[in-house]
């Protein structure tokens, strides 16, 4: 635990120094990046110790702040399981950020950005350790605050400011719900256990328990970003610089899932409705998020929607686990939750990799709109190969780490089908359909996106783009390496997976760890087998062509030799069939019609984009009504002194007549 305290201290100190080194950005960046990497690696030692051995570490100190602040940090198996991706990805993001911000235009805000970056990493580290209600809320708000300042770092654009405001407002509403839950728990006095679990109302106290559980799901869901609470995510993540959005998508939204799991470990699992709610939310997130991700003008907003989809998958797994636990299917519960946790673990890395690659491509080619890029693969080998790797993982290609997590959830669903009469039929079928639909949609989306950005002819890339900075390349390569390693290391994780699951549902025993391991083992050897075979096939192909004549020509275009870049398929056309089929979801925003004044219509440039219509109309309706009622209420302060004195008189008389008897 000493290492972790040292890491936290180092992060805070380096952040503060960066604040004062604002006018020398290079020094500030170097200092903060190395401090962040060092502290992450330092904190990894105790985390790995707990990760593999499973014994807990705790640190308890009553800090004399107003009203008594109990610094109670516990590193148990669930926190350790979450902290491994947190620390690894933070180190990678710091390395990436070092290169990313080096040639940043407005260097005067660079020191400030590094201060908030280190604060974000420190508060995320602390959130997963906090075991007392108040310190948890403190770190939770600090995490939201520092990520807000990073989202608003490029504040000259109006959309970035608006995204920052919506993000801060949404995370504050979520935290307000958590305030109520934790205040209720700590009002029952300081008792042992995580978030003083003894105070959580049992299943007998019906209404209160339902209220607290729903408040918890609302609060943590607002941070996790699954469907009903996702509106801030597709705005905030693209606005942030790439290394920050990698961190936010990779880890921060996982804090929401961590909160939900911790709540279930505190509250015990006896409510099937919670599981059903999570499954429904997961399915909606999975499918609707990918539908609105199809035709986006900004690569990073596609990745943000894909994060919502992956959070949806994790929610399906957790929901199925909770539902199964509440009606007795322990094997299904173990498999589903370990599938969700494994997918969460893997998603942190391949989503981080995707954001870093998208950021690098954006920086090299100048724009992030897929239709403006194209053909960068040959010019940017590192970026394009890491993007392909990430895209393959995101679409669930078996030989990468996107697949094991989904595989376990599928397996749990199939086992759920076998349990006759346990009411698991409907949720399992729903999970299977949800997973497969969102899986295919993400396959279509990522093939389209990576194809249009990196393959084919360059559409508008002025000159040959080249790799933006070596540091970013290093960060991307190491992230890709971790992704590849995780496909084969899935069975190694099974022991700690089981530990994390037993931390949430006390019922599962660690004996089933071996059962989990031998379910994941065939996957790893299948992946190894596929890699070997691909290498062999490539070698055979190369051997075949060695003696033959290999020539280069123009792509076949039905005898039209002068095909140029504009004739290629753009993202709008690639996703046109899909979005036509799901039209009832998407409100088509078509630009203004072309004015027909001249005989030959002039230059016309327009784009059509699709929005999920249902939420936007709902919210704008409420906002309009609220605005109208507020303006009526503002009549109270209309400036006339007499009315003000009348308020005092009426208040006085009302109280006298009502109260004095």
């Amino acid at each position: 635990m000493v290492f972790i305290a040292a890491a936290l201290l180092l992060l805070l100190l380096s952040g503060l120094c960066a604040l004062f080194l604002n006018n020398r950005p290079a020094v500030a960046a170097a200092l903060c990046a190395t401090a962040c990497i060092a502290s992450c690696l330092a904190a990894l030692f105790p985390v790995f110790a707990v990760f593999f051995s499973g014994r807990e570490m705790s640190f308890d100190l009553l800090w004399p702040a107003a009203g008594g602040l109990r610094l109670f940090l516990v590193l148990d198996r669930l926190s350790a399981f979450f902290l491994v991706p947190v620390l690894l990805l933070s180190a990678l993001a710091a390395l990436y950020g070092w290169g990313y911000l080096r040639r940043e235009r407005n260097s005067e805000s660079c020191g400030r950005q590094w201060f908030f970056f280190n604060m974000l990493v420190a508060s995320m580290l602390a959130v997963f350790l906090a075991a007392d209600g108040l310190i948890f809320l403190l770190c939770w708000e600090m995490m939201a605050l520092s990520s807000f300042f990073l989202v608003v770092s490029r504040d000259e654009e109006e959309s970035v400011r608006r995204a920052g405001f919506i993000y801060l407002a949404a995370s504050h509403c979520g935290t307000a719900a958590l305030f109520v839950m934790f205040a209720f728990l700590s009002a029952a006095g300081i008792s042992g256990g995580f978030w003083n679990s003894a105070a959580f109302p049992g299943p007998d106290v019906g209404v209160l328990r339902v209220l607290l559980l729903s408040l918890g799901i609302f609060g943590f869901g607002m941070k996790a970003g699954f469907m009903p609470f996702h509106f801030w995510l597709p705005r905030a993540h693209p606005a942030a610089p790439s290394h920050v959005s990698a961190l936010m998508s990779g880890i921060m939204i996982k804090a929401g899932i961590y909160g939900i799991l911790r709540m279930f470990s505190v509250a015990g699992v006896t409510d099937a409705w919670c599981g059903a709610a999570l499954i429904i939310a997961g399915i909606c997130s999975g499918i609707l998020a990918m539908l609105s991700a199809l035709n986006r003008r900004d690569t990073k907003s596609v990745l943000a929607y894909s994060s919502i989809e992956n959070i949806g998958i994790i929610c399906m797994g957790t929901g199925l686990a909770v539902y199964a636990a509440s009606c007795g299917g322990t094997l299904v519960c173990l498999l589903a939750l370990s599938g969700a946790l494994l997918h969460l673990f893997n998603h942190a890395f391949f989503k981080g990799l995707l954001f870093m690659a998208a950021g690098a491509a954006g920086k090299s080619c100048g724009s992030r709109d897929p239709d403006a890029l194209g053909g960068c693969a040959k010019a940017l080998p590192v970026t394009s190969s890491s993007f392909f790797l990430g895209a393959a993982a995101a679409s669930g290609v078996p030989l990468l780490n996107g697949f094991p997590g989904k595989f376990l959830i599928y397996l749990a669903a199939f086992c759920g089908l076998q349990l006759k009469g346990s009411g698991l039929l409907l949720p399992s079928t729903a999970v299977i359909v949800g997973l497969s639909l969102s899986g295919c949609l993400s396959l279509a989306c990522f093939t389209g996106l990576s194809g249009i950005i990196f393959l084919g002819k360059p559409r508008s890339c002025a000159g040959r783009p080249e790799e933006y900075s070596a540091l970013m390349g290093a960060a991307m390569i190491s992230a890709a390496a971790v992704c590849l390693f995780l496909t084969f290391a899935a069975p190694l994780l099974s022991f700690s997976l089981c530990g994390a699951v037993s931390a949430v549902f006390a019922s599962t025993d660690t004996a089933s760890a071996s059962g989990l391991a031998d379910r994941l083992a065939p996957l790893s050897c299948a992946s190894a087998w596929v890699f070997v075979l691909i290498a062999a096939a490539l070698a055979a192909g190369r051997l075949l062509l060695r003696r033959r004549k290999v020539s280069f020509g123009e792509t076949w275009n039905c005898a039209y030799a002068a095909a140029d870049a504009r004739m290629q398929y753009t993202s709008a056309s690639f996703f046109y069939p899909l979005s036509r089929t799901f039209t009832f979801f998407n409100v088509r925003k078509s630009p203004a019609a072309v004015s027909k004044t001249t005989f030959f219509p002039g230059e016309y440039e327009g784009y059509s984009s699709r929005r999920i219509g249902v939420f936007r109309t709902l919210l704008s309706g409420i906002a309009a009504k609220l605005e109208f009622s507020l303006s009526c209420l503002r009549w109270l302060q209309q400036g006339r002194l007499h009315i003000y004195i009348m308020y005092i008189m009426t208040a006085l008389l009302a109280l006298l007549l009502w109260k004095v008897r």
């Binding site: 078996p398 359909v433 690639f574």
Partner: protein, 305 residues
């Protein structure tokens, strides 16, 4: 000796797969009153193509060369988990049907990216339509697998088709026939057969499968064709596995001949369908697949009760 049989089955699958396209073409020729191409036409094509050189477009990159071999490898790995009638699959573990489906998905991932790499609008059109259909077909396939796993009580492909054997029909035969019908529809979608795509059209705008291979040449197109044939074999072995007459308990050669016969029967049925029916409009395909999905959900519910 008999634990080597799955290996022999694998070899039979590898050799007999291209035969099926020959069967389909012969049946179509018979319906059209023509003599039709020889049964072994695909073998000759593949052999000829493997001996050729290759012409690569300047816009394509590394990925264009990587895609065909990778696609073929994915299909070969998927083949390992398919049982052949009365004999088990080479490899099986709980949840291998999910791996098979996602291996097919991975092969589609490579084909789509290869198509987009060429930068031609025809290949882009093919890729976009294939991505569009795959969203529905995979969901339907998963539902059928769910129905089969509920009926057979096992969570592995080998368990469903091989160990369950005849017992799978005891639950409720008519519902299982529905599942077989839906599996056949999935076969038609995944292999781009008539109602969903016309294999022997030569108007690039209407193609889906061939459009994605327009720019491949020499060994690449050979691997592409061979992978398509193997995919037909895999998806045909699912309904064939269900329809296989388990009661007869023949020896090894009898079993493989019988299994080969059932798959040839499916191929003949596809050929007949191709000569009688016409292509569906692209908009109608999702509706057809949603209907298939509905059928499989109904089957699942009936089987689970």
């Amino acid at each position: 000796m008999n634990n080597l049989y799955p290996l022999f089955n694998l070899i039979i699958a590898l050799t007999a797969a291209p035969l099926m396209s020959g069967v389909i073409n012969r049946v179509k020729a018979f319906f059209a009153g023509r003599k039709g191409p020889p049964l072994l036409q695909l073998y000759f094509d593949i052999g000829k193509l493997l001996r050729k050189g290759a012409v690569y477009s300047r816009t394509t990159g590394v990925f264009f060369r990587l895609a065909p071999p990778a696609g073929l490898v994915f299909i070969l790995t998927a083949l390992l988990f398919i049982p052949c009638g009365a004999y088990p699959a080479v490899l099986f573990f709980p949840g291998d049907m999910v791996l098979v489906v996602y291996l097919l998905g991975a092969q589609r991932f490579c084909m789509l990216l290869a198509a987009l790499d060429t930068g031609s609008s025809f290949e882009g059109m093919g890729a976009s339509r294939d991505a569009h259909f795959s969203v529905f077909s995979e969901a339907v396939l998963f539902l059928c697998l769910a129905a089969m796993s509920v009926a057979s009580g096992s969570v592995s492909l080998n368990g469903m088709l091989f160990t369950a054997g005849g017992r799978i029909w005891q639950v409720s035969p008519p519902v299982l026939l529905v599942v077989v019908f839906v599996l056949y529809i999935v076969l038609l979608v995944e292999n781009y057969r008539v109602p969903f795509d016309d294999p022997n059209t030569h108007l690039e705008l209407t193609m889906i499968h061939e459009a994605m291979a327009l720019d491949h040449g020499g060994p690449d197109i050979a691997m592409f064709e061979y992978a398509a044939a193997l995919k037909f074999w895999i998806l045909a072995s699912l309904p064939a596995g269900l329809l296989f007459p388990y009661g007869m308990k023949p020896d090894f050669f009898g079993n493989s001949a019988l299994f080969l016969g059932v798959i040839a029967l499916t191929a003949a049925l596809t050929g007949a369908l191709e000569s009688c029916a016409a292509r569906l409009r692209l908009v109608k395909v999702p509706q057809m697949l949603t209907a298939a999905a509905a059928l499989s959900v109904v089957a699942l519910i009936f089987l689970a009760k």
